[in-house]
């Protein structure tokens, strides 16, 4: 694999049609140029702080800590960012980069709609055209976000192919990019896809762990014992892990969507049920059948409903550096309600997967241990779906 770029162990690479190769090479060159450019970084930091509301808070969840009776729990509040999730970190970086590259049009995929909303927001701010591809199933599950994107001046295209969810939205965005490259940047929403996307998205999301590290030193004068986050493609988790990878005493835990359970077919837990494959531009782990057909995955969370995982996570898993645990719909919904009730914080159903695992492990740790959970987004968008899950029909 001598010519292959962007490898994380055996994972990563650039498995894309020839039509897109010069586009990803151009993107890599532009990124390498701007990532250390003082003006670019000043502009981006300014957008992070003044527009997105960074740094996000590291909040000591005192009631949750007391209730669970074990480790001290901190919540990294990415839900407080403008647009309501961590997605804005990556989008502002990529949109600014695209603008510098002379692109005038952004395209994006979205699952829950958080990345779509963030991209639509950046496009509005930076005067760019924006088209968002969203699985038709997800446009139904997340109707409010579809409306928000329209309000922000973007076109949402419902994708009807395949399972009409996130993976199909990614496929359609890749198809669109290959038909129009000159003026268009594909603003990929997670640490996945062909190189250089996994690296670019990780770097823009790494602001999460950079801040956690600084904030926890201010509050506790030491490193945390565990940092954890939910994982679909894995961008908020990669951002949460990144600056702790070298700190070997910090346990890294990614919480995958198990759906109805990893012993059923209705799951999206890639590390726990998938195997090595090549899809969406990367080598990594994927849920697939014995002939390599990508499996129709399922999770209550549209944002984690993806059959693969970013290549750097796959590598962290291979090395045993990070642990990936499955969390069922039921556990996530319980955690969604628990955090709302206990701390007055309604987390995104995606983030609730991480909260659910913390509820399991916190009581097993002594009180002098510290757990940091990234709350990747806020849960307003999920209220109608959770109500439905509980058998209650409410109007959005």
């Amino acid at each position: 694999m001598s010519n292959s770029q962007g490898r994380f162990g055996v994972h990563g690479g650039q498995y894309i049609p020839e039509t897109l190769m010069n586009a990803v090479i151009e993107l890599e060159e532009a990124y390498n140029h701007y990532k250390d450019d003082p003006t670019f970084n000043r502009e981006l930091t300014n957008l992070y702080n003044e527009y997105a509301g960074r740094p996000s808070r590291l909040y000591y969840a005192k009631k949750m800590t007391q209730d669970l009776g074990g480790a001290k729990i901190y919540l990294k509040r990415e839900d407080l960012n403008h647009t309501g999730s961590h997605k804005i970190n990556n989008v502002l970086g990529q949109a600014l980069l695209a603008k510098k590259m002379g692109k005038t049009r952004l395209i994006a995929e979205t699952g829950a709609g958080q990345h779509g909303v963030a991209t639509a927001t950046a496009a509005a701010l930076l005067d760019m055209e924006c088209i968002v591809f969203m699985g038709e199933e997800d446009t139904k599950r997340q109707a409010l976000n579809v409306y928000r994107m329209g309000l922000l001046g973007s076109d949402v295209i419902p994708v009807k192919t395949g399972t009409a969810t996130l993976k199909d939205a990614v496929s359609e965005a890749m198809r669109e990019w290959s038909s129009r490259i000159d003026d268009t940047h594909y603003c990929l929403g997670s640490v996945m896809g062909p190189h250089p996307f996994p690296t670019i998205v990780r770097d823009f999301q790494a602001v999460i762990s950079r801040e956690i590290k600084q904030q926890i030193f201010e509050k506790e004068s030491r490193l945390p014992d565990v940092v954890m986050a939910c994982v679909g493609g894995g961008s908020n988790a990669m951002g949460t892990f990144y600056h702790f990878i070298e700190d070997k005493d910090v346990k890294l835990i990614g919480c995958e969507a198990a759906g109805r359970g990893i012993d059923t077919f209705e799951t999206a837990a890639t590390i726990n049920t998938g195997r090595l494959g090549i899809f969406h531009g990367m080598k990594s782990y994927f849920c697939q059948d014995k002939y390599g057909q990508i499996a129709p995955v399922y999770s209550i969370s549209a944002g984690l409903d993806y059959p693969g995982i970013g290549p750097e996570h796959a590598w962290l898993h291979d090395q045993g550096r990070a642990e990936y645990v499955p969390i069922t719909d039921k556990e996530a919904v319980n955690a969604f309600e628990y955090l709302s009730r206990t701390e007055g914080i309604i987390p995104a159903i995606e983030s609730a997967h991480a909260v659910a695992h913390a509820m399991k492990i916190a009581p097993t740790y002594s009180k002098d241990k510290i757990i940091v959970i990234t709350i990747s987004g806020r849960g307003d968008k999920d209220c109608a779906a959770i109500a439905r899950y509980r058998g209650e029909d409410i109007n959005e």
Binding site: G13, Y15, P17, E18, M21, A23, R180, L276, Y291
Partner: protein, 279 residues
């Protein structure tokens, strides 16, 4: 060429070049198992009898990111019908008893990788598949597959796109079998016009390799096929054939055969008259 020749006197890839030997090649594509493998088998025989020089057999993939809606639907129909890689290998074995037309597999990297790349490609050589096209495998990633393809003498076909520019020489120099020139940006599918300057692409390819080059993506009419074949060494057609199969279902062998015949004739007729066509 017959089955014995395929296995013994030459490597499988040799016969791809042979397909271009007598002039311009017509290369039809079909998705295996759409609507079922029995029909695919009949259609392949019909294409072979009606002048196909090289046949591209698509192994369906659940998420074919380089395909437009027509071939996407064919992939889904085939998978819903229960087709698998092993069943397609068995069909090729049956075809190779009497069909000598060179055949290629067109599929996605994961189909080969998850089967076990060595096992997949050695099986190709064993059953008489001459080459392999993987649209999601660019030059930078090909080594992992190409080393094994070379070991068994199966040609890994290189693709060149309208956006390839500075990459054309590098790709063409290592090309085997033939060079697949992607006529247009975007995905597969019928197009009313092909705007790319194909002649310039072909010229750059020919400066760097002696292997033939054929043009695909967007070709549907005899006129387009003739025009593309006139400026290259062949024309590849997929979506139009898939549309006929969607229309005629299990009775598609005859209309597809007729279509292949018309396309092949157009290529041959206009080839001899290519100077007047181009002027």
């Amino acid at each position: 060429m017959n089955k014995t020749d395929t296995g013994r006197s030459h490597t499988p890839s040799y016969y791809i070049k042979e397909a271009f030997k007598d002039g311009k090649a017509f290369i039809p594509f079909i998705t295996c198992g759409d609507p079922d493998l029995e029909t695919t088998e009949k259609i392949v025989r019909s294409m072979s009898e009606n002048g196909a020089d090289l046949i591209e057999l698509g192994i369906p993939f659940s998420d074919p990111t380089a395909e437009g809606p027509v071939i996407q639907d064919a992939n889904l129909r085939a998978l819903n019908g229960g087709v698998t890689t092993d069943k397609i290998f068995d069909m090729v074995k049956r075809l190779r008893k009497d069909i000598s037309t060179p055949m290629l597999f067109m599929t996605y990297a994961n189909v080969v990788f998850s089967y076990n790349t060595d096992k997949f490609i050695s099986t190709c050589a064993e059953i008489g598949i001459n080459g392999l096209i993987l649209p999601d495998l660019p030059f930078e990633e090909k080594e992992e597959f190409d080393d094994i393809c070379q070991k068994y003498g199966v040609a890994l076909i290189s693709l060149i796109a309208p956006t390839s520019q500075n990459r054309i020489a590098m790709i063409a120099r290592q090309a085997q079998g033939f060079v697949y020139i992607v006529s247009s940006l975007g995905v597969t599918g019928v197009r009313s016009e092909i705007n790319t300057d194909i002649s310039s692409l072909v010229k750059l390819v020919r400066e760097n390799t002696s292997v033939p080059c054929a043009v695909g993506f967007g070709i549907s009419t005899p006129e387009q096929a003739a025009k593309m074949a006139a400026i290259s060494d062949g024309a590849i057609v997929g979506s139009s054939i898939i549309k006929l199969i969607a229309q005629f279902g299990r009775d598609a062998a005859e209309p597809v055969g007729q279509y292949v015949k018309t396309m092949k004739e157009a290529i041959l007729t206009l080839k001899s008259d290519k100077n007047s066509l181009q002027s």
